[in-house]
């Protein structure tokens, strides 16, 4: 703009995590817990026929559904959390100025990471055989009738340096290393940001840029490998070379939606008054663009497998598309995560006005949660899966817990990195 006026914003503002906001979150949590409870009781008392008698399959237990639900939410909310840190790092690596006032919102998502790591490890040890086929030791025993040559060939990826079928050292080590490094970088970013608030100057910005670069290199590898470990290894025989990016895309859209929703929520409460429709427009463009990126990866994965028609590859889609339970959700998935954001967010006005963005971002969070449900359930629950009260309840419980932790972290410090060297640039951001 031609008229660079003087800006007088309150840079020391703090988010007040009021009792009424806490109460609304707790209400959602309680509703979720009640739904979850009813869902668990319903799962325990039947509804399912004993179909475990089929050759080679084990009997289905109600708690497997609980484990699968835990796992879906672990992976989904870990993704949102780490994407907050990732998007923060991107701003520094790209030397972006527009986003300076909302940096703390991105970073606050990372405060769920330590809890997510503990939950992930705990769920793995509790659910073990019930979620991951490859944890069965008989698969690696050449004398066992259920010996599996293909999984045996992949065994080292889980068990190295131990003997296959014992304790998955390599797998657990990766999980621990990824979470520790993610938390380490998150803490580092938080520290540098806090120092910047105290001391000012541009040296912290340069420091942050270097650390961001290191983090991005680490995240490039760890995001892909964690997608193989936590999601793709459920369908142990099957593999897809772009699966890591597909999971990342789903994470990224969810994370961007969460960031956008928190920014709009804070603006609605009267904070972040320097964030105007130009900044919101940029967030909207990210959500719009990466929804298309997700679709591109989803379709690339589907089309090649469909076209080549190789049985060991098509099984993944046969399990989903030809199932009465999952079939409809495949199309719901595409509708919510592609057609809806594509058509609604196409115009400039829709990206600049909070109403549309709030609606689309909320739906996208649900949509990508369905996407992860579709990745995890068929391989773990088979025809006993579905989205019922148990799943919805678990989603609400996790979602409100994450909201509680993230907003709590946001309330602890200044909402704005007040000495960020590019704040002035972001005030004058105009597109």
């Amino acid at each position: 703009m031609a008229h660079h006026g003087e800006h007088h914003y309150n840079l020391d503002q703090r988010f007040d995590f009021t009792a009424s906001i806490k109460k609304s979150i707790m209400t959602v949590l309680v509703i979720g817990a009640v739904l979850l409870g009813i869902g668990v009781v319903m799962a325990m008392t039947g509804g399912h026929h004993e179909e475990g008698a089929e050759a080679g399959t084990h009997a289905f237990h109600w708690y497997e559904r609980l484990y699968a639900s835990l796992w879906v939410n672990n992976v989904f909310f870990t993704g949102i959390s780490i994407v907050g840190v990732f998007f923060f790092a991107i701003q520094f690596a790209a030397q972006a100025g527009w986003s300076a006032p909302i940096l703390r919102v991105m970073l606050s998502l990372g405060s769920w990471l330590p809890i997510a790591g503990v939950l992930m490890l705990a769920t793995f040890f509790v659910a073990n055989h019930d979620l991951f086929h490859w944890t069965h030791s008989y698969l690696f025993d050449k004398n066992d009738p259920q010996y599996d040559k293909i999984i045996d060939g992949k065994g080292a990826f889980f068990y190295w340096p131990m003997e296959k079928g014992t304790f998955p050292v390599f797998y657990i080590a990766r999980m621990v290393i990824f979470f520790s490094f993610w938390v380490f970088f998150f803490t580092k970013f938080k520290q540098i940001s806090a120092q910047e608030d105290q001391l000012g100057g541009s040296s912290h910005w340069f420091k942050m840029r270097s650390w961001s670069a290191f983090f991005l290199v680490f995240f490039a590898v760890s995001s892909s490998v964690s997608a193989w470990d936590w999601v793709m290894s459920i369908d142990t025989h099957w593999f897809s070379t772009l699966f890591g990016w597909y999971v990342f895309a789903s994470w990224f859209v969810s994370g961007l939606s969460a960031i956008t929703l928190i920014v709009l929520f804070l603006k609605g409460k009267g904070y972040l008054e320097m964030v105007n429709e130009n900044h919101v427009h940029d967030l909207g463009k990210f959500v719009f663009g990466f929804s298309i990126f997700w679709t591109y990866l989803w379709f690339s994965q589907f089309l090649l497998i469909y076209y080549a028609n190789i049985p060991e590859e098509t099984v993944y889609f046969v399990e989903r598309l030809e199932s009465d339970i999952y079939g409809p959700f495949v199309f719901v998935n595409l509708g919510l995560n592609f057609f809806l954001p594509f058509l609604v967010l196409m115009t400039r006005d829709a990206k600049r006005h909070g109403v549309f963005l709030k609606l689309v971002c909320t739906i996208l969070l649900v949509g990508h949660w369905i996407d992860f449900t579709l990745m995890v359930q068929p391989g773990t629950l088979g025809h006993n899966g579905g989205i019922g009260l148990l799943e919805v309840g678990m989603f609400l419980v996790y979602g409100s817990a994450v909201a509680f932790v993230v907003l709590g972290a946001l309330a602890k410090r200044n909402l704005i990195a007040k000495n960020h060297p590019m704040l002035e640039e972001s005030y004058n951001h105009h597109i």
Partner: protein
């Protein structure tokens, strides 16, 4: 009063002066025909009060046309004109059509957008551009005011307004 010129031109040599001048001139009730500048001046279309371009709508419609043409073409060819079994699939296997439909959408949206832009901007090859002042391709911003559109104000008044707004010179220009 005899009107022997058609346009009055205000010449400006600074973009900040120009942006404020546009506001002042418009504020005095003078309708500006167009402002010519050697490079894009950020915020100029805003102070001139221009509405946003409708080009995205054209792009969307041409994109839709591309999608429909591509789908029609592929269904006609694969289902009716020359049915072929590829990879054991149906003759009309929808997923196979998606990449071609995507490309045709992009192609027609791009072509349509460029075409509509050229037409609406009067950029046809045989167009005779009206050059108000050659220096608008060098180092001067030229504000053109059509006298016919400002019949309520006399020439001296408009000249005065332009001079007051910071124009370095005020010229007259007519076309045949």
């Amino acid at each position: 009063m005899e009107r022997d010129t058609h346009f009055i031109l205000g010449v400006y040599d600074d973009e900040d002066v120009l942006l404020h001048a546009v506001e002042k001139v418009r504020g005095s009730g003078v309708k500006i025909h167009e402002v010519y500048s050697p490079y894009p001046v950020h915020g100029l279309e805003h102070v001139l009060g221009y509405k946003r371009s409708k080009l995205p709508i054209a792009a969307f419609l041409f994109g839709m046309l591309g999608t429909s043409l591509a789908l029609t073409m592929q269904f006609y060819m694969m289902k009716f004109d020359w049915p072929m079994i590829i990879g054991g699939k149906d003759h009309a296997a929808f997923p196979d059509f998606v990449p071609v439909s995507f490309e045709m959408t992009v192609l027609l949206a791009a072509f349509g957008m460029v075409g509509v832009f050229l037409i609406t901007s009067n950029l046809k090859p045989w167009a005779q551009p009206r050059i108000f002042d050659l220096r608008s391709t060098d180092d001067k911003h030229i504000m053109a005011i059509d006298i016919a559109n400002n019949s309520s104000l006399d020439l001296d008044k408009i000249t005065e307004i332009l001079n007051e707004s910071g124009a370095t010179e005020v010229n007259k220009k007519s076309f045949e």
